[in-house]
Assembly symmetry: C2
Homo-oligomer: 207 residues x 2
């Protein structure tokens, strides 16, 4: 188990309907130590990629995005949500259905903050059906920019968002991927991911 | 002028109705270098104060709060807004009028994330009439906790929020305080604040 899977096991709660509640460290109260580790791990996974902007969506993606932007020393842009906003010339707009709030949100970014020169790393705390991620991709493409990759803290692997994004060719990196959960027994299964060897000399020792 | 006043002069825009637009570095696109400087300056101004939690309100306060929490190595809690949320046993709730959205918002924090043991530094990007700050103070007090202080990036000094909070005895630190603005001439006046001498030896040299 990696640090985030370990944290989920220690502090997460499975609620009825198989909803994972992690609002004591990720999306209401925020454990900055975990956020910092998430940011470092995402930067490592996108090593070698040129990134000049981090894009997220309000509100709970902002903490990870800010720390990651600090590591890259690039700006963060957070897309705003509105139920009522009208399409205007001064913003890019896309739509995303919120399963949490059971409504369609307009998601927008003011035009000056996404451009054709942008190489954008999209970041969010959760990925489920991919509604938010796809809206953010749409905004980057409307501006003519490039989506370098998508970095997620927790992917709900039982839902289709991750599969569809990978099939579409995006580099999607999720630090913890939920494979299954059971409310009755409060057990969780994570999808296996490659584990990085911890020894600095691991490569030499393998020779 | 300090670094934030300088940044406002360089990148801010005064819109009709004397609204200061800083969404290219503070509350839509975020310049992490400025956020980092704001966090360091707030920590300096609250030097000697014991802080075990940073409290802010979604969404644009989260970036500053996260970097500041990283400096203090304490958790951030961000209060959530809702138009519809009902008062329930599992959360503290207060009300704040949003001048931006012209509506009353319920502002809430889940009970486990504010306690009587908490020494809370409240942080936000803007202070105008103090609606959000007062709602956050209310939440801390409902939990029996202590408000150590209030740290703000930009205070609208023409509005009454700052004066009332200071009169109520709170240590309120705002890095830039707007005294007046003029749309026609695009000019701005900041309230004078004590300036820290830059020389490490300033005290010795003064003897």
């Amino acid at each position: 188990m990696n640090f985030l899977e370990q944290k989920i096991v220690e502090d997460g709660v499975i609620k009825e309907g198989n909803i994972l509640k992690v609002d004591n460290f990720l999306n209401h109260q925020i454990d900055v130590d975990i956020i910092r580790q998430i940011a470092y791990e995402l930067k490592r996974r996108f090593r070698g990629k040129q990134v000049n902007k981090i894009l997220t969506i309000e509100a709970s993606g902002i903490a990870i995005a800010t720390v990651l932007a600090d590591l890259y020393d690039v700006p963060v842009v957070f897309a705003k949500k509105s139920q009522t906003a009208n399409s205007t010339d001064d913003k890019y707009m896309a739509q995303a259905y919120s399963f949490t709030h059971k409504r369609m949100n307009n998601v927008f970014v003011s035009r000056p903050y996404l451009t054709a020169a942008d190489k954008v790393l999209i970041v969010d705390d959760f990925l489920a059906d991919g509604q938010a991620a796809n809206a953010l991709i749409d905004l980057v493409h409307q501006a003519g920019g490039e989506v370098v990759g998508i970095g997620i803290a927790i992917e709900k692997g039982q839902q289709q968002g991750g599969r569809l994004l990978r099939e579409a060719g995006y580099q999607l990196e999720s630090i913890a991927i939920l494979q299954s959960m059971d409310y009755a027994t409060q057990t969780i299964v994570f999808k296996e991911q490659p584990t990085r060897l911890q020894s600095c000399n691991a490569k030499q020792q393998a020779r």
